[in-house]
């Protein structure tokens, strides 16, 4: 479904991502881990179009998407969340939800959009906050709103950058549950995390990056025994 081929990204003289290749199949739940500076967030930024790759290809549903602007990639069905929550602070929860829906090239009636927003907000249990300004929400609620907003895009692939960082354990569990559920509904996930424990239990497949290169690609269980992975983490 999504394929990355020989992806390279240089910042000045520093190579952040080096000849990275991997494939994501439909309805997969892929985790990407790696020590600080291993190129995880850069990879997500490259796929979502925030950064342009120095070389290499990104193919989504049979078409190259590298070089497309971020909004175009979003419209094609790749949604993302950010490491530091980026909600539209001075807009209400509902308005946050409407932005992706109205930006989408699909024609949907206002009624449909509204119903869908309501559904998603109920699903995430923040329906009661729908008229609040996003900036008045707690950090955890903002995180949930961000997830809800991505869902409004109706994306085929959802990329999440550190969804579990710095949140209450209870909420962590909650988000964990939501991801599972959305995955069951057939969505594809790419999740970056520092939180090894959560990602090991959540993901079906794990990619480990170190120094911008892929050093492991396989089951989560296998990663724990892989020498290079252990070395990368211990060597830090």
């Amino acid at each position: 479904m999504l394929e990355v081929v020989d992806l390279v990204k240089d910042f000045g003289g520093i190579r952040a991502v080096n000849r990275l290749s991997f494939k994501v199949e439909e309805n997969e739940l892929l985790g990407i881990i790696g020590p600080n500076g291993s190129g995880k967030t850069t990879t997500i930024n490259l796929i979502s179009g925030v950064l342009k790759p120095t070389s290499g290809k990104i193919i989504f549903q049979g078409r190259r998407i590298d070089g497309l602007p971020p909004y175009e990639i979003a419209r094609r069905g790749i949604g993302r969340t950010f490491q530091v929550t980026q909600v539209f602070r001075r807009m209400t929860v509902l308005e946050n939800m409407f932005v992706p829906a109205y930006a989408s090239p699909q024609r949907r009636s206002d009624r449909e959009i509204r119903r869908k927003a309501m559904e998603i907000l109920s699903f995430l249990k923040i329906y009661h906050l729908r008229k609040e300004y996003a900036r008045n929400l707690s950090g955890g609620q903002q995180k949930l709103l961000e997830i809800g907003r991505v869902l409004m895009l109706d994306p085929k692939v959802i990329m999440m950058d550190e969804p579990f960082a710095g949140i209450h354990p209870k909420l962590k569990l909650e988000i964990h549950g939501y991801i599972r559920e959305m995955h069951r509904e057939g969505r594809t996930f790419i999740i970056i995390s520092h939180d090894l424990q959560t990602i090991f239990t959540l993901s079906q497949r794990l990619i480990v990056l170190s120094g911008g290169e892929k050093i492991y690609d396989g089951t989560p269980e296998g990663a724990k025994e892989d020498e290079r992975v252990v070395e990368a983490y211990l060597g830090e």
Binding site: F88, P100, D110, V150
Partner: protein, 338 residues
């Protein structure tokens, strides 16, 4: 108070203000009518600036320069090419919108202080050029422009014209801002990166905001040219005048059209009313600007009204995107994903 109640209060207030506005020529005479006309002209400029700065987050200092471009385009076409005034007026608006388009395209990569610096530079270049090319523009000697209604003996037609223009412009801006485009503008203001990640074509909508705002600045400029009758570059586009417009919008409330309009009218009337204290009134406005920014970043007049009207300030600084909750087929103005 319920939302419906609020809407009633707002509607009532709007009707009272509308009735008052229509009655002004019967209450005020010549000079104060002139003050009112200029106040409405500033209100249009302040709201066009708010559309760009307050809603879309693009802090441009070029509003007055664009008004000036429109004013000079219209005036010169009427004088040198014998266009009818309405023809010059429309061309002026088109010119402002076109220059707005160019600026919008040029400044895509610039944000925050860079955009402010670029637009200051643009304004200065425009002003200096209009002064330097005095053979065409007559620079500071003043370009004599035909009046909209032949003369200025009777100011009432001018008053109703600018009132009508302002009402129409505000309605258009309001419709735009409460449609999906307004949603996109605000999402760009809040977080460009996130807006792009949500599928918003930020390039297109940023440019659109520049074009729309410039066009309205152009409307104001065109009216001004054919109202004052004598144009000089300094009387439209010197930097302190841009500062006045910004002060008006900030004092009124930078994030709403109503705030910008009320700020413009209040400051304009105070400016006339406090004439006796001379330069000190500008010192007071400067101080007010600083204090309001420091202690009430969302402005003074509009939030105050909102508090009086009984709704929480937070919930009203933005026009809400109202969509029908019932299954009846409703259309949101201008929206609908088309």
């Amino acid at each position: 108070m319920s939302e419906k109640g609020i809407r009633k209060v707002n509607l009532a207030a709007l009707m009272v203000i509308g009735a008052l506005a229509l009655a002004v020529p019967f209450i005020l005479h010549s000079y104060w009518l002139h003050v009112a006309i200029i106040g409405l002209y500033y209100a249009l400029l302040a709201s066009s600036w708010t559309l760009l700065a307050g809603y879309t987050g693009q802090f441009s200092f070029a509003t007055m320069a664009l008004a000036g471009i429109s004013a000079y385009t219209s005036a010169l076409l009427v004088i040198k090419a014998s266009f009818p005034i309405w023809g010059g007026f429309l061309c002026g608006i088109a010119a402002a919108a076109f220059v707005g388009l160019l600026i919008g395209m040029l400044v895509l990569r610039l944000s925050g202080p860079y955009l402010a610096l670029f637009t200051i530079a643009f304004s200065e270049i425009t002003r200096i050029t209009l002064n330097a090319e005095y053979r065409l523009t007559r620079g500071d000697m003043g370009l004599t422009v035909p009046y909209l209604f032949g003369g200025i003996e009777n100011k009432i037609p001018y008053y109703y014209t600018i009132l009508g223009i302002l009402a129409a412009s505000l309605t258009l801006m309001w419709l735009l801002l409460r449609s999906k485009y307004g949603l996109f503008f605000r999402s760009i203001r809040e977080d460009e990166q996130a807006a792009a990640a949500m599928g918003v074509n930020i390039v297109r909508y940023k440019i659109m905001a520049f074009v729309v705002s410039s066009a309205f600045a152009g409307v104001a400029g065109g009216f001004f040219a054919h109202y004052v009758g004598t144009l000089t570059p300094n009387s439209i586009m010197e930097l302190p005048r841009m500062g006045l417009i910004i002060a008006m919008a900030v004092i009124g409330g930078i994030e709403s059209l109503a705030g910008a309009v009320s700020g413009a009218l209040v400051v304009q009337f105070l400016q006339e009313y406090l004439r006796a204290i001379g330069m000190w009134r500008f010192v007071i406005f400067g101080l007010a600007l600083i204090l309001i920014l420091r202690f009430s970043q969302n402005g003074l007049i509009w939030p105050l009204y909102q508090r009086l009207a009984g709704r929480r300030v937070e919930a009203k600084t933005e026009p809400e995107l109202e969509l029908p909750e019932s299954p009846e087929p409703g259309v949101s103005p201008g929206g609908g994903g088309a």
